[in-house]
Symmetry: C3
Amino acid sequence: MYIKNAWYVAAWSADLATAAPLAITMLDEPLVLYRDDAGRAVALEDRCCHRLAPLSHGRVEGRDIRCLYHGLKFAPDGTCNDMPGHTAIPKAMRVRAYPVAERHSALWVWMGDPARADATQIPDFRGPDHPDWAMLPGRMDYAADYRLIQDNLLDLSHVPYVHRASFGRSDARINDAWTRATVHVAPLAQGVHVTRWLTDTPAQPFLGQPAGARVDVLNAFDYLVPGIFLLTTRHYAQGTAQRSPREAPTEAPLFATFSCQAVTPLTARTTCYFFAYGPWMRHPDAVAMKDGYATLALQAFNEDKTLIEAQQRIIDADPARPMTLFDVDRAPVQYNRLAASLMEQERR
Amino acid sequence: MYIKNAWYVAAWSADLATAAPLAITMLDEPLVLYRDDAGRAVALEDRCCHRLAPLSHGRVEGRDIRCLYHGLKFAPDGTCNDMPGHTAIPKAMRVRAYPVAERHSALWVWMGDPARADATQIPDFRGPDHPDWAMLPGRMDYAADYRLIQDNLLDLSHVPYVHRASFGRSDARINDAWTRATVHVAPLAQGVHVTRWLTDTPAQPFLGQPAGARVDVLNAFDYLVPGIFLLTTRHYAQGTAQRSPREAPTEAPLFATFSCQAVTPLTARTTCYFFAYGPWMRHPDAVAMKDGYATLALQAFNEDKTLIEAQQRIIDADPARPMTLFDVDRAPVQYNRLAASLMEQERR
Amino acid sequence: MYIKNAWYVAAWSADLATAAPLAITMLDEPLVLYRDDAGRAVALEDRCCHRLAPLSHGRVEGRDIRCLYHGLKFAPDGTCNDMPGHTAIPKAMRVRAYPVAERHSALWVWMGDPARADATQIPDFRGPDHPDWAMLPGRMDYAADYRLIQDNLLDLSHVPYVHRASFGRSDARINDAWTRATVHVAPLAQGVHVTRWLTDTPAQPFLGQPAGARVDVLNAFDYLVPGIFLLTTRHYAQGTAQRSPREAPTEAPLFATFSCQAVTPLTARTTCYFFAYGPWMRHPDAVAMKDGYATLALQAFNEDKTLIEAQQRIIDADPARPMTLFDVDRAPVQYNRLAASLMEQERR
């Protein structure tokens, strides 16, 4: 049920402290992350090969980590290099090592065949430290199948219902614009690209427009394997949508926001959701608005969480019950077809 | 494991507020109850046909309820009558609607074939608003199979043990009368009728008898499909039981109490128990005694709950272990035979 | 997965009050323990044969216990001797009775064939009331398979890692002595005997040695079927280990401590761990040191519990994953072989 040959976000960089190992189960596999004495991140199987105790209860020593049950020590490549009281260490004494890369303020772990790990394939995530956007990193743990979260992100027609009071600001002119919008879905090599114009919506005060002004807002996102969501929202003068119905016009927008997100499956029914969301730095008040956007995101993503966890419980009470999809589901259907074909390739 | 073609109590009327949908899983099926803008109760499957989100997270709009995931709206008959952004609505877009009737201060839901739903078959429940009895509605959620609660109600020989301090008032003369009583069990078309005389018990002070007076108390109940318990207790002058050993005598009793109860299976191991219990209104202090009887009932029914949930845990630890029934179990055995034959008919 | 024909510790004597029945599930079987009116302990199946309610919710009456569901009363041999309202009691009305013995401040229950129960086979446990040792009884409930706790006790090479700060007093000279020690494992009829010398460790202040003095400490334990751990630690003048490398020398030690422990499986994933630990009474401050040793034991055994419960979660997430044992595991391997052969004999 998971794509294995992919880079998954395992943590925000800031969440992995020096010398304190961090346990995370990803794709049903227990991992321990730690930083060695040079600050480099290491990811190992969180299960000592001796008696299966978690290495995350252990102690970092230099580049290595020592199991604090019977004292075996493991190097970043997973080999055991100390067995207290023993000099000859059997080759079988090793744990699995996972390729790790630190990019965009996040730690990315390759969950598949290590020989195929290539850190240049990590998408241009533009994390919370990106200079163009004023963002704070957030995370949320779901008691739900990652695919329900994925389907939620891929079909934003839920915004005027789930987020009517947060992103929709309880404003019928905004929520109606979402309902009216025409959605364009385009395939990407590693995902889908989805756009919609929200036309004729009230300009927010900080856009510096005359009182009562309306704007057209272009909402565009990529959803990429294995669960990377990159959303840009751009505000333009009213009428822009009509001139440039399918894509962003060439002129600079009045204002923009960006959100990078990652959906990481932990187990069949638990998922970690990483997110950052904020205004562009070209707005003079961007830094001042940073906290407000982070709070808004947290409110909105909790709305999703409440609903999706309830949906999961309904599904689990009768797993045979089918969904009935229709054309709002084009993007999830396209993405899920791509993901299924990648999983099928991995099985072969 | 459930009788489907039957009216089940889903809630007390007072517990379903206007416009706030109420989720309840009954017989392993998720339901949403709501009142439309005219106050009429509606019961639908609590699972939007689109992506299986619970409608109970939705919003009542007029006679309908709107799913607050992607905005589909459903009528009381379960048909979808609004799909935001769409005009042609496929017939497949519908949820199951359940017949509902409001009677005796309770909401009754028919869980079987809607064509067979006939609200005139709802038993004469005499709910908490019945003019003859001073009762308050109560409910309790059990972590137990509904059949354990049913067997408990059908065999009141547990009263002098489980309820020795509540209904038995820690009085050996009352508890002994329960142990001595001869039990009569008679079949009914839809259940069983059970009676016993508790002879020679101390008259309660409010009966207005001389100090030290004794009374004979007739305890009689119907237990009806699918879990309706109607119990009347009548106090008479000492010696009445000998004159009228099998049934109520023709003269009016000195005092009486009534209890209506409903056992509604939620899932295989959760059950909702609805109850009301109180004195008859002919006693001048009936209204003043109402709260005291409700408190006594709550104490006693919690005694049952503690014991039955413990019994359930013992059973689940070794489900193959058989019970050893004897003649106190005549009423449960008779009722369970009837219920089994009804379930067998439904399977055919 | 359990040895049945064995005496298990079910409780400390002090934990079974007069007249208040105590429920304990042992080896997946529900038991009720109670003291009769003469203070004698009784152990019965905690499941009334009638409707499977727990007798532990019942009431002790003389030598017997009465079920407080429908009033059946059972004698210490498990036979029903009162069925309210009935005179002829069927032979089938009985519950299983378990042999019990009270020894060494503990209640021992025989879980197998009662005909084979022989209380003289209870090991010399030397419980908390033993005159030679100043000990307080303790207990701890684990969410783990009893075999993980057993393997932990059988291989004390975990001490310098798990207990580096408690038993190892964060002192490298002590922890290193544990790592350096040569372990001797010898078979016993009902278990294994394990010894190691911790040489050249700092003398504790209360040994009355000159400042900077070193001692040799002999650590020796028996681990006996079905989970009895008896550990003696003796402190001697430096050099003693060299003179008497395999066993205790003939002279009296400078100081000693003792610990008696019992590992009682409750269910497949829950275990009760009973323990007492303290200094010998020959030390003039033994009584004053009693509480300190009990606190140290509690700290150390919580260190084990934290680690073992984490190990259990790792194992349960992928139960097929094998352990990789090596020579520190000699004692657990020997003991587990003995236990497996006893279980195999019982199956035949």
